[in-house]
């Protein structure tokens, strides 16, 4: 296993499947009465959050505690981009404390890479979302959720070969979309991005995904197994990416009508928190096709698996 998890693209197919398989084992732990393992006893894990994200932080924190790590929450809100050196100062402080792993969430793309490749800190770095770049543990939990829905108890050892995944919404600013296209293609899935042209990168030739503007047409022609709706951030609403929220919801939102157009086995995913009535309607969000809550549950298992993988074993080359 590698020392850090910075990008979903760092993982080979074998490594990705191994993490998903370990997460299966972890999910069993999460089902039992004593949900705790002694695995990371004596290890210190720091949750370094420069950006607010209660959900992601709680998910990591539960994962760390279930593995018996000592957990330090370091919330450095408001000290990110405005004060240039704060990342370095903070990192050196954490190094002095003796952190074995740092889970970092930051509003600047590449912040986790900078931390990993600086000599400020020696521990493992886990990217918990960097700007509009990547969110690899989200991609892993999404892949885990898909695999479980598709293969059920037969999941261990399996990849996602031939699975068609449509990711819909603000691709341009989405770290979830970036990490997912990398991981899903590694696992053999076929990725389709659907977005208004203003919310796709001007040059998306580096993406391992097919591009579409028209959601209904894509649903009809591609018949996806998985539809993943992305959250539309509030700050996009008034920046002329699209005329009105109403128009966006009508053309690119998921609703009961589009749910009916899916094949019976298809699932609808969302990384949360949802803007109900905007990118997803209540009927879809609450339907049995929706995996929103499973994704939350699986997030803990995946993060346990990642922590275990990075902090155990012989380390291969730094990625």
């Amino acid at each position: 296993m590698t020392k850090h998890l910075l990008s979903a693209g760092d993982l080979s197919r074998e490594q990705a499947i191994e993490i998903l398989d370990i997460a299966e084992g972890m999910s069993n732990v999460n089902d039992r009465e004593i949900k705790k393992l002694p695995t990371l006893r004596g290890k210190t894990v720091v949750n370094l959050f420069f950006e607010d994200s209660t959900r992601t932080r709680i998910s990591f924190e539960v994962a760390e505690k279930r593995l018996s790590a000592d957990v330090i929450n370091f919330s450095a809100k408001g000290s990110s981009v405005s004060k240039g050196e704060s990342l370095k100062d903070t990192a050196q402080t954490l190094e002095a404390i003796g952190a074995d792993a740092v889970v970092i969430r930051h509003s600047a793309s590449g912040a986790a890479n900078v931390l990993a490749h600086s000599n400020w800190i020696q521990g493992s770095i886990i990217n918990a979302g960097d700007g509009t770049h990547e969110h690899p543990t989200q991609a892993l939990l999404d892949a885990f959720t898909m695999r479980k829905r598709i293969h059920g108890a037969q999941s261990p050892g399996k990849a996602l070969d031939g699975v068609k995944v449509a990711i819909v919404g603000d691709i341009l600013h989405s770290r979830v979309a970036r990490s997912n296209q990398l991981l899903l293609s590694t696992l053999g899935a076929e990725v389709h991005f659907v977005a208004p042209p203003t919310l796709l990168p001007q040059n998306a030739s580096g993406f391992k995904a097919a591009l579409h503007y028209n959601l209904d047409e894509m649903l009809a022609t591609e018949k996806p197994d998985v539809v993943m709706m992305l959250r539309l951030q509030a700050e996009r609403m008034n920046a002329s990416y699209f005329p009105t929220e109403r128009e966006y919801a009508r053309i690119w939102g998921f609703n009961a009508g589009r749910l009916g157009a899916l094949k019976d086995s298809a699932i609808v995913m969302h990384p949360g928190p949802m803007n109900r009535g905007l990118e997803i309607d209540a009927v879809t969000a609450d339907s049995p096709r929706s995996t929103v809550l499973e994704q939350v549950t699986n997030g803990v298992s995946i993060r346990m698996a990642v922590l275990y993988s990075l902090l155990s074993g012989e380390r291969s080359a730094d990625v």
Binding site: E18, D21, E24, G25, R32, I34, L37, T39, L40, G313
Partner: protein, 183 residues
Amino acid sequence: MSARTVLSSDDIDRAVTRIAHEILEANTALQKSGAKNLVLLGIPTRGVLLAERIAKVIARAEPDVKPEDLLGRLDITMYRDDLASNPTRPVTQTLIPSQGIDDKVVVLVDDVLFSGRTIRAALDALNDFGRPRAVKLAVLVDRGHRELPIRADFVGKNLPTSREERINVQLNETDDQNAVVIE
């Protein structure tokens, strides 16, 4: 290095049968009934296979017992104390028989008993699943060199070895023969 077979296929069968009967005897003494309240937990990988074999012998001796009622498996990966120095191990599933382990006599089954650290981890793991009435240990081979105060209750064969030697247990469910080999 030359390999030397120390237990043949027949030797292994005999050892398994003997262990099964010893377990029944001991349980009768304890619970006044052969397979009642008995749980066999194999430690992956080969401990699981041995536990299955033992369960079959017990089922033959006690016709009202089905092997699956006794059998479980206990993955101890996450309880090891050598996390950073060994390769990442895949985590396998832990299965506890439907009767649970509370107030049961649990027999841990492994292929080789060496330092005792695996069994220490297994005892920790067991703790998180319930409170057995007693825990016993069955191993096919005890090769000595204990690093912890742990001892097996049921032993197929005691094999004095040097620390450098490797004991290789092969079972035909996963290997191409049944044998115990010293390398």
